[in-house]
């Protein structure tokens, strides 16, 4: 008995699934735009979107128009793109590192981002020139490069890469703790922790222009490597014997996932579980071969994140829950189910 629902190569079934997924994503984005801290009637939302997209001239309060288009729509798009990036990174890392528990932060990216952020926030790194996001991005990249350097020196096998990632994460987490304990008072430390949990509240359209192209780029690069990703399943030697340029593929794909993850983390903080759980859910639906898995993962990640954002805004009235808490609320039980299923078939 096969392990996936849609794993047969019936192309029209996959086409139908793709259309359904896109529709669901569009619907979720529509919901995200209609729901928020203040309630705006659906008709108004529709008119506002139509005014901007189609150039109609409905009479609307300019504040409502701004809220719907500049605040909510940009936020929904960034949420979708962040979810897609994280899920895609998770899938690629799970294949490259041959580890079903791999996820985007395994190479130290999130730890480096938090060090960069607290460096800017508490030590005044690049004061006046560097924003919090830029500091986080730079920290993320430095951490990744350090881990890559270590891993290359240690032999570059999947296990070694993971170990170097763990070491790198620990190092940068320690650096973050050091900075926080020596430079911050309790209030600042609280602020830092809040940032680490993830927040979409400051998103505007310029962020969309950064987030979406990075996701698209990452997706295209990964699609180019679907055969290679499949070939890694039995390890680097097996992949090489099938004609894959192992080192080059590792560098390109790890670099791409690092770029996608660093962009997301620096923009919205460290949101967990998406990169870990969505690839498994996608595998469950369409099977493990990457030409189907990657598109399913990207769509699944986008839908999940937009949904999590909506929930984070409505679950407690008058308050916005950090989105990392919502993804954990749903991600942790899903993860337990994954482990349980894996146990049964092992």
């Amino acid at each position: 008995m096969s392990g996936a629902i849609f794993r047969q190569s019936v192309w029209w079934a996959h086409g139908a699934l793709a259309i359904a997924a896109f529709s669901l994503l569009a619907l979720m984005i529509g919901l995200a735009v209609s729901i928020g801290e203040i309630s705006i009637p659906l008709a108004t939302t529709a008119k506002a979107v139509s005014n901007r997209l189609l150039g109609t001239t409905f009479e609307l309060s300019r504040i409502h128009q701004g809220i719907i288009w500049d605040y909510r729509l940009s936020r929904a798009l960034v949420a979708a793109s962040a979810g897609a990036s994280l899920a895609l990174s998770g899938a690629v890392l799970q294949a490259l590192l041959r580890n079903p528990l791999a996820e985007p932060y395994v190479l130290g990216v999130s730890a480096g981002a938090s060090t960069g952020a607290v460096g800017v926030m508490l030590l005044g790194f690049g004061y006046g020139v560097l924003s919090l996001s830029s500091g986080a991005f730079i920290g993320a990249v430095i951490a990744f490069l350090l881990v890559a350097f270590l891993a290359a020196g240690a032999g570059g096998t999947s296990e070694r890469i993971i170990l170097c990632g763990v070491a790198g994460s620990q190092l940068f987490n320690a650096a973050t703790s050091y900075i926080v304990t020596t430079s911050a008072n309790a209030e600042q430390a609280r602020g830092v922790m809040f940032w680490l949990l993830g927040s979409l509240s400051g998103i505007r359209w310029p962020d969309v222009y950064l987030a979406v192209p990075v996701t698209v780029l990452g997706f295209v690069v990964s699609l180019f490597h679907v055969r290679a990703l499949d070939a890694f399943v039995f390890g680097t030697d097996a992949a090489a014997s099938l004609g894959i340029a192992v080192r080059r593929v590792q560098v390109v794909l790890l670099g791409t996932t690092a770029l996608m993850t660093a962009t997301v983390v620096s923009m919205v903080g460290a949101i967990g579980f998406v990169g870990l759980v969505i690839p498994h859910a996608a595998r469950f639906l369409v099977g493990p071969t990457h030409d189907r898995l990657l598109p399913a993962t990207v769509l699944g990640g986008a839908i999940f994140m937009v949904g999590a954002d909506i929930i984070s805004r409505i679950i407690i009235p008058q308050q916005v829950l950090p989105i990392g808490v919502v993804t954990a609320l749903f991600g942790a039980p899903a993860f337990a189910v994954i482990l349980y299923r894996a146990r049964r078939t092992a």
């Binding site: 996936a4 079903p100 055969r227 070939a231 399943v233 039995f234 004609g243």
Partner: protein, 254 residues
Amino acid sequence: MSISLDNVSFTAGNSLIVNGVSLTVQTGTVLGLLGPNGSGKSSLLRLICRLRKVRSGIVRLGESDVSTMARSDLARRVAFVEQQATTETQLTAKDVVRLGRTPHRSLLSPLGAKDDAAVDEALSRVGMEGRARQLWQTLSGGERQRVHIARALAQSPTELLLDEPTNHLDIQHQLEILGLISRLGVTCIIALHDLNLAAMFCDQLAVLQRGKIVATGTPQHVLTRDLIGDVFGVQAHVETSSIHGRCNIQYIIA
């Protein structure tokens, strides 16, 4: 000749694993590679398909130097079966064999008729065609090994390298697989532990000891009492079998 090695050496860290090995394998023949653990058999196989880089010497496939060949060309010619390759991904046996078609597929092409034919043929040659849809995780050790061999066969190779392919198989399948390999008509190098099986199925043998070739030739020529005692450290009596006409080694336990 199909495969030739010219004074090939390989180091890992500070130790010399393969030391000046020169070897030729005629097209279409089966060469058995023998030697105790640590003699360099696995490394030698990996050098031939360029999974590792030689420190000195040249490996040739036909007329071409392996180190100058394009990776994809190399993969279309040479297939390699490892000792042990596992995965946790939920693949079916057919998925695994399909991977063997990777060097022949371009990025955008779906699986064509030629690919499907190669996959089906490979599966039936190893006797797993009925289990094509079964999950990898549910196969026994021997069945997994057969699927790996099928994957190598699906690569449509002209040279086939196998690293102890019969380790996990029961005797029936050991004989079946080795018989299959010997009848393939493809140039093969098999690393083996079992001297009798090597004698039965290989056209030529090469014996490695501490990275150096100490004997090459037909099984008759190579498997002598003295060599076996010297290289493998066991007492044996060698005679020609009246059943299959090949060497038969009987071990003497003190």
